[in-house]
Subunit: 467 residues, 2 copies
C-alpha cells in the first residue's frame, strides 16, 4: 500500500484519506491498551480512521472480555459496515450489545442486499425484527421479498437498488435522469435497459455513456454480452458466470422476466471466495460453517463427525490386518512396513482427489474429458508406483535382507498407487453424478479404499509368497 | 441463466445476444461431430456465438488430435479473448498452430495487462517476440515495462489504459474530455484525479460524475476511501486489499508516486481465486502449476516430490514401529490396532492445519489471537480424544478381550489428538514466521508428528503396561 505524500496533499483538501490507515501491530497494541485503560477517547481516536472491515476483524480477534469492553467504550461506533463485515458467529452478540437506536442507524446505511445478508442467519428472531422495523417501508418490503427467495439463491444475493432506462432513451436523457435521481445506489456501473414491461433487454456501461454524445441512442452503445439470472438461480451458478464471463453486474428477473434487482461483481466474488473456502475445509473434513471465532465446544462438535467416519474406516483397515495375524507373527517385519504402502496410497489418492474436486468445482472436468483425466491419473499412479516400488524394494532388501519382502512391498505399492489414481478421480465424479458434494465425502471413501487395498495387497502377497 | 424472450427481442435489435449461448452437452457433441466430419462451416456456426472463455474451456477439454483439427478447421477463429482465457499449458501449442497474421490481430484486441499475462509465461521466446512486434509501439513499451516488474507484482497486474483528470476539473470538463477521448479502455469505472506531477490524489466514480451537475468540482464528489499500490507490491497484497475493502479499482504508482496504471477488481479477484486454488492443491501436495490439460509425465513429475517426502515420513514411522518388534510378536493385536491411533491423529491434525492455513491466508489468524486459537485446537483435540478414547477402549476390549489393551489405545488416542491440535496450528504459524508458505510444507510435518507420536505412544504404552 503506497503511503504517498499525495495523501497528505489530499488531506489538505479534507479528503478523509485516513481511511487508508491499516490495522497494524502497533495500532492493535495501542487499541488493546486503550481498552484495558478504559480510555474511550483514545480508543475512538484509534478506531475511527479504520475501515469497517478492519474493525470487524479486530472484534473477531479479541477475546470475549476485551471485545465487550471495547463495544461499551465506543458508543455509537459500530456502524452498518462493521456489522455486515462481522463474522456471523459474532453478529448476534454484537447486535445484542448495541443500544437499539444505534442498530437502527447502522442498518439504515446499508444496501438491501447487505441487510439481507445481515439478518438471514440471525437465530434470534427478535433481533431480525428490530432490524426490519428500523428500515424504511420500501426497503423493508425489498428485504422481506429477498428473504422469500431460497437461501443461496440469486434473489438473496441481489440488491434492489437498480439504475434503469427505457431502451429507446438517448445518452442525454439518461444523464438528465441520473442528475435528477435522488435514490441512486452506493455503487453502480451499468444502466440496465428495460422494455415497457420492465423486462431487461440489455445494459450500457457508464463509461460508454460518459464517452458518447448526448444524442446517441442508448441501444446503440449497449454491451454485446448480456446475461440475466432468475431470482431462484443458485448463487453458485451466478458466481461461476461472473468469473467465467468477467461480468461486472448482471440483472436478476422474476419468473415473468421482469427486473427485480442487480448482482454486482463484488457480491459474486464473495460467493466464489466462500465456495473455494468451503471446498478447502470440506476436503479436510472441517464443517465449513466453522470460523476462527468459534468456541471450543463448537469446534469439537464440528470436528467430531469426520473423525468418527475416519475411525470407522481405520477399524475397517484393522479388520483387514487382523485377517493376517498369522503371517505377521511369523514375519514381524510386515507390521513394520505395512503402514508405508497404505500411507503412500492415501497421499497419492488425495492428490488425484483434490485435483478432481477442484476441476469439478470450476467445471473443467466434464463428460468431455473425464475419461482422459481418469486414464491420466491411473497412468501417473502406475508410473509413480513403479518408481517408489523400486525404492521400497531396495529399502526392504537392505533393511530386512529379504528380496522376496522387497518384491512384495514393490508389487503392493504399484497396485495401491494405481487404485489411488482410479479412486481419486472416480469417486468424486460418481458422487457429483448422484448429487453429493464431492468435496464433502470423497476423502473418506478414497482413504478407505487405499488403506484397505494397501494392507490387503501387502499382507496378502506376503502370505502367498513369504510363507 | 435466464433464457428470456427479452433476448429474442434484443436479437431483433440485432444485439448479438447469442453471446448468451452456453457450452452445453448437445452443442459440445455437435462440435465434436463437426470436427470429425471436417465440416468447417458448421463448426464456425457452432463456435462463433460462444464466449471466448467457453471456447478456451472447449479447447482444454478436447484431446490433442481433435484440438488440432478444430484449430485447422476454424481459421481466424481464435481471437485475443480466447488466447488470454486459455490455460497456460496450451497457449504455446495454440499460438504455434496459428498463422502469424491471426496472432497479430488477436493480440491487438487485448488490453496491455492481458498481453502481459499472455506472454509472461511463454517458454518459447520467439513467440513472445512475435506478439511484442504485433503491438503498436506505445503498447509494446507498456508491456515491456510491465514485464520489467517482478512476477506476481502489482506492476504485472495493472493495465496501462487509465482515465485521469486534473483534480481541479469540474464534472463538465471531465465529460467533455471523455467524449473527446479516442483511446478509452474497454472497461473503466473511475476517473483518477491527478496533481500536476501526475501523482494520483483521489478518484471519482462514473456514477457520481453522471449524477452530478456539470459545474460540480470533481474534488467535491471524490470517494472517501482511496488506495494506491506501488508497482512492486506483491499481487497477493493487492488482492487482499480489494477483497477486504471492496475496492473496484486502484491506482498503481512508481517509486516517485507517479501514476503508472490501474488494477481493476476482476484482475484482483482472479488473483484471489488463484491463491485459494493454490492453497487447496498445495495442502494436498499437488504442485499448483499443474492443470487438467497436463500430460501424464508432467503429472508424474508434479506428484513425485510430495510422495517422496511422504515416503520418508512413512519410513520414519516404520522405524518407530521397528523399535517395538518384540512387543508386536508378543501381542499381534498391537499390529492390528496401531494404524488406528496414527490415522486418527493424522486426520485431526489435518483439520486443525487446514483451518490454520486458511486463517493465515485470509489474515484472520494473527499475533492477536494465535494463542487463543492454539488453546482452542488443543482443547478440542483433547475433548475429541477422550470421546474416541472411550469408544476405542470399548472396541479394544470387545475385540481382543483385554482391558489393558483398551486402556493403552485410549491413552494413546488422547495424547495423539492433543498433539495433533498443537502441531496443526503451531507448525503453519511457525512456517509462516520463517517465510515458508504454510500450505506447502505443513501437511508433511503434521502427519509425520502424528504418525510418530501415534505409533510411539501406542506401542510404547503397550510395552510398559502389557508385558
Amino acid at each position: 500500500m503506497a503511503e504517498t505524500d499525495d495523501q497528505t496533499l489530499t488531506d489538505a483538501q479534507d479528503d478523509p484519506i485516513e481511511e487508508d490507515v491499516e490495522l497494524d501491530q502497533p495500532r492493535l497494541r495501542q487499541i488493546r491498551e486503550a481498552v484495558e485503560a478504559g480510555d474511550g477517547e483514545t480508543l475512538a481516536h484509534l478506531l475511527e480512521p479504520l475501515h469497517g472491515a478492519d474493525v470487524a476483524d479486530l472484534l473477531e480477534q479479541l477475546d470475549d472480555g476485551p471485545r465487550r469492553r471495547l463495544i461499551a467504550l465506543w458508543p455509537h461506533g459500530i456502524d452498518g459496515e462493521i456489522l455486515s463485515e462481522l463474522d456471523e458467529s459474532l453478529r448476534e452478540e454484537v447486535l445484542a450489545a448495541l443500544p437499539p437506536e444505534d442498530v437502527v442507524e447502522a442498518v439504515r446505511e446499508l444496501d438491501t442486499d447487505d441487510v439481507v445478508d445481515l439478518i438471514e442467519n440471525l437465530e434470534d428472531a427478535s433481533q431480525a425484527g428490530v432490524i426490519l422495523d428500523a428500515l424504511e417501508a420500501v426497503d423493508r418490503v425489498a428485504v422481506e421479498q429477498a428473504l422469500g427467495f431460497p437461501e443461496y439463491s440469486a434473489g438473496r444475493l441481489m440488491q434492489r437498488e437498480v439504475v434503469i432506462a427505457p431502451s429507446f432513451w438517448t445518452v442525454g436523457q439518461a444523464i438528465n435522469h441520473l442528475r435528477g435521481a435522488d435514490d441512486l445506489p452506493e455503487q453502480f456501473y451499468h444502466v440496465i435497459l428495460v422494455d415497457p414491461r420492465m423486462r431487461p433487454v440489455g445494459y450500457v456501461t457508464l463509461g460508454k455513456i460518459l464517452s458518447s454524445a448526448r444524442e446517441t441512442p442508448l441501444a446503440e452503445i449497449e454491451e454485446e454480452s448480456f446475461r440475466t439470472f432468475y431470482a431462484t438461480d443458485p448463487e453458485s451458478e451466478v458466481a461461476y458466470a461472473f468469473n467465467q464471463y468477467h461480468l461486472i453486474s448482471a440483472a436478476v428477473v422474476d419468473a415473468d422476466d421482469r427486473l427485480l434487482g442487480v448482482i454486482t461483481i463484488d457480491d459474486a466474488m464473495a460467493v466464489l471466495d466462500e465456495e473455494a473456502e468451503e471446498d478447502i475445509l470440506r476436503l479436510a473434513g472441517v464443517d465449513s460453517e466453522g470460523s476462527l471465532s468459534d468456541r471450543v465446544l463448537g469446534t469439537v462438535r464440528r470436528r467430531f463427525p469426520w473423525l468418527a467416519v475416519n475411525l470407522l474406516t481405520a477399524i475397517l483397515a484393522s479388520v483387514v490386518i487382523s485377517q493376517f495375524e498369522g503371517v505377521i507373527t511369523e514375519i514381524v517385519a510386515l507390521a513394520v512396513l505395512m503402514p508405508i504402502v497404505a500411507s503412500m496410497g492415501g497421499n497419492a489418492g488425495t492428490q488425484s482427489l483434490t485435483v478432481a474436486v477442484r476441476a469439478l468445482a470450476t467445471r473443467d472436468l466434464t463428460g468431455a474429458n473425464v475419461w482422459r483425466v481418469i486414464r491420466r491419473e491411473v497412468l501417473a499412479g502406475g508410473i509413480n508406483g513403479v518408481a517408489f516400488a523400486v525404492i521400497m524394494a531396495v529399502v526392504g532388501l537392505l533393511w530386512f535382507g529379504s528380496p522376496m519382502l522387497g518384491l512384495v512391498i514393490a508389487v503392493a505399492m504399484v497396485i495401491n498407487l494405481v487404485v489411488a489414481g482410479l479412486a481419486g478421480v472416480g469417486i468424486p465424479v460418481i458422487l457429483q453424478k448422484i448429487g453429493v458434494d464431492p468435496a464433502l465425502a470423497s476423502g473418506a471413501f478414497v482413504t478407505t479404499v487405499t488403506d484397505v487395498v494397501g494392507f490387503f495387497a501387502f499382507l496378502g502377497l506376503a502370505a502367498l509368497w513369504l510363507l
